[in-house]
């Protein structure tokens, strides 16, 4: 059997298993949606390198693995330990998922404000969920995206957040997805829907974490809808375990004057692909995409972003930085698409890469597609090594060569970490980074 046919059979079997039990399918619209998406996945099959959008990332290892649907609550101890490690001390309204399933015991879903709805997606689908139907799967297109199609067909659990107009959420919402690898490769399809009403503000932290040494796949999709004048800070921290595959799409949709900033920190997994797409679908939107990817050993990390300036007077700023060591491979593929109507667009995109070893490799592909003359757009990318003059300067003051290298690597990366506004998270990541590069926190204002 060809691997395409194999994949089809495998995921068809997941689909019928899901239909039989467990996951919420009660409503006709969701059943129809799933069926359409499943059919679409069967039509598409997994992408190959002939697909321009997947040119640098070979998903054959995923296509060729026989995954089982991830099971609920496998190894609670590992999950608990992982949760403790991940959460640090920061106060948040928190939903925790283990192997894709909501774990009430580890969660504290206090509704932050009146009228705000926050729950697991499964609960939202079972409940009234009137607000779900007009939004779910309306933004993240599955027509041309096999992984989004698969997620849409098989989505089980995840998070649903609805913020009515005019609410300012002061505490972040944290969504923590822990995968505990079992003996068999398993796949989960977390799905998140966030709808932010007119003039509301929220910050959301999506964290992915792995426990155990086995192989698993997380195939996540997040849809984020920001109403007029809404402000959303989105943080994504990807720390999957060493042999994990992580494929994710974040699709953001902005109405007029909305403000969206994204911080994507990719650290884990053997193969990770993070897609972030933002559609600036109203006048005067602001969008900032920040990214940091660190990879070593045999890791492969692919960052794929697209910003659509659909309407006039939009601003976007994008800065992605990568640090690649060992034989790691990094990819930055960022497109800025300025539509015909989007005059006075102001877009800037930057990608910087630091290669720490001879074996490391980066492909960087910034792309501008502009269909309006009255715009200000720029892009640029760099690939380089540590600055020898800087290393010598530090050594000439008595700092050892290894420390000097760590310090400079840390400094390169910390610039993205410093943009994180949730202080405890910033501090925690700062420490993580410092630990990774064996430096203590040199950006610290205090010596």
């Amino acid at each position: 059997m060809s691997s395409a046919a194999q994949a089809k059979t495998l995921y068809e079997s997941h689909f019928s298993e899901m239909e039989k039990g467990g996951l919420p399918n009660g409503k006709a619209w969701i059943r129809n949606l799933r069926e359409r998406a499943m059919a679409r996945f069967n039509g598409l099959g997994f992408p190959t390198s002939r697909n321009e959008e997947w040119k640098y990332t070979d998903v054959a290892p995923i296509a060729n693995t026989v995954f089982q649907p991830a099971r609920r609550g496998l190894d609670r101890d590992a999950a608990d330990a992982a949760a403790r490690a991940a959460l640090g001390s920061f106060e948040a309204c928190r939903l925790v998922f283990v192997n894709g399933y909501y774990e009430p015991g580890l969660s504290s879903p206090r509704p932050p404000l009146e009228g705000v709805e926050i729950s697991s997606l499964a609960a939202a689908l079972e409940g009234d969920g009137g607000w779900l139907e007009p939004h779910l799967a309306r933004y993240a297109g599955y027509e041309n995206h096999a992984f989004v199609a698969l997620n849409t067909a098989l989505m089980g659990d995840g998070a649903a957040l609805y913020v009515p107009p005019g609410r300012i959420l002061t505490e972040p919402i944290q969504l923590l997805f822990i995968s505990v690898a079992g003996p068999e490769p398993a796949v989960s399809h977390p799905r998140i829907l966030i709808v932010i009403g007119k003039g509301s503000q929220a910050s959301v932290v999506e964290s992915y974490l792995g426990a155990g040494e086995g192989v698993y796949l997380v195939n996540a999709v997040t849809e984020l809808v920001i109403g007029e004048n809404g402000v959303v800070e989105h943080y994504k921290l990807q720390r999957e375990s060493e042999r994990a595959y992580h494929i994710a799409t974040l699709q953001a949709h902005l109405a007029g004057s909305a403000n969206f900033s994204s911080h994507s920190i990719a650290l884990g997994g053997i193969l990770a692909r993070n897609e972030i797409n933002a559609v600036l679908d109203g006048e005067g939107c602001e969008c900032a995409l920040n990214g940091l990817y660190l990879a070593s050993g045999e890791q492969h990390v692919d960052n794929h972003t697209r910003i659509d300036h659909v309407k006039p007077h939009g601003t976007s700023r994008e800065l992605y930085k990568g640090v690649l060591d060992g034989k790691a491979r990094g990819i930055f593929n960022g497109k800025i698409y300025v539509h015909k109507a989007a005059h006075k667009t102001d877009a800037k995109q930057t990608n910087k890469n630091l290669l720490l070893s001879r074996g490391a490799w980066v492909d960087t592909k910034p792309q501008l597609e502009i269909y309006n003359n009255d715009v200000k757009c720029s892009h640029g990318s760099t690939i380089g090594q540590l600055d020898q003059d800087a290393i010598f300067y530090l050594r000439s003051r008595g700092i050892g060569v290894e420390t000097a290298r760590s310090l400079l690597t840390y400094a390169f990366a910390s610039d993205i970490i410093n943009r994180i506004k949730i202080e405890p998270m910033r501090v925690q990541l700062d420490r993580l980074l410092a630990g990774k590069f064996q430096a203590d926190s040199p950006a610290g204002r205090e010596p």
């Binding site: 050594r395 000439s396 003051r397 008595g398 400079l408 400094a411 390169f412 040199p442």
Partner: protein, 256 residues
């Protein structure tokens, strides 16, 4: 303290230092002057261990030890300090953090206890006065966006903190206005002591009016071609380097 014998060095396959000899004793201040490209900075970098300069002959001992065998950080810990002609900007690393790491590396090497944050801050406060350094600069990343004068001051400030045995100042005076020059020179003078030696590289007599050297050497085409006391600097100021060049040519012809 420092003995240089017949030092030859090349960079990118061309020989820049062509037989340098120099002896510096504790407490002494030596000025090295010479035209652009004569090898002054090369000498300074070779002494601090910069890797892309290749020593092809000669020897250097520092406090009785073979300096050329030491890696740059070891030289620094042993007490060599280079004030760079072009200090490097290092975004993302705060000056205070960097200096604390450097100082503790040096102290550890000298079997002194590491300083904690409190003691370190106290030391910094005291040393800041030496060059009228502004606290604001210290919180910024190393040299990032500093003016030329601020960078040079930062070099002398670091020297004050690290307390070296041999300081090599590479054109610390260049690009300074008269006030900044006075501040830097006062800083350097405050650090003069019987235990510390200094090599001051400069183009101008102007600095030597403040920092009075015990010896003045002229570096020309990779060799020290003339040595004297402070009067030599005045003579150079007056006549420029042309007469040295003439003398060299004459000597060469006589030799040929």
């Amino acid at each position: 303290m420092l003995q240089i014998r017949n030092l030859h060095a090349k960079v990118a396959d061309s020989e820049i230092l062509r037989g340098i000899g120099l002896t510096v004793k504790a407490g002494e201040v030596h000025a090295i002057m010479g035209p652009n490209g004569s090898g002054k900075s090369t000498l300074a970098h070779v002494l601090s261990g910069r890797e892309n300069y290749q020593v092809t002959a000669g020897e250097v001992t520092f406090q009785g030890r073979d300096l050329l065998q030491m890696i740059p950080e070891e030289r620094a810990r042993e007490g060599i300090f280079l004030a760079f002609q072009y200090p490097v900007e290092i975004p993302g690393v705060s000056t205070t953090y960097f200096l604390k790491a450097a100082l503790n590396a040096v102290r550890k090497h000298r079997d002194l206890p590491e300083l904690d944050a409190m003691d370190f801050l106290a030391l910094i406060k005291e040393k800041m006065k030496v060059v009228e350094m502004d606290q604001g600069l210290l919180n910024r990343p190393i040299n990032e966006g500093f003016s030329g004068g601020e960078k040079k001051r930062n070099e002398i400030f670091q020297m004050a903190v690290l307390d070296p045995k041999l300081a090599i100042l590479d054109e610390t005076d260049s690009g300074l206005d008269i006030d900044a020059l006075r501040i830097v020179a006062n800083g350097v003078n405050a650090l003069r002591s019987a235990e510390r030696a200094m090599i001051v590289i400069t183009h101008y007599q102007r600095l030597l009016g403040y920092i009075v050297p015990d010896y003045v050497h002229v570096l020309f085409d990779g060799r020290i071609v003339k040595s004297g006391d402070k009067r030599l600097a005045l003579e150079l100021e007056e006549k420029g380097y042309a007469w040295i060049e003439d003398e060299q040519e004459k000597a060469q012809r006589a030799g040929a």
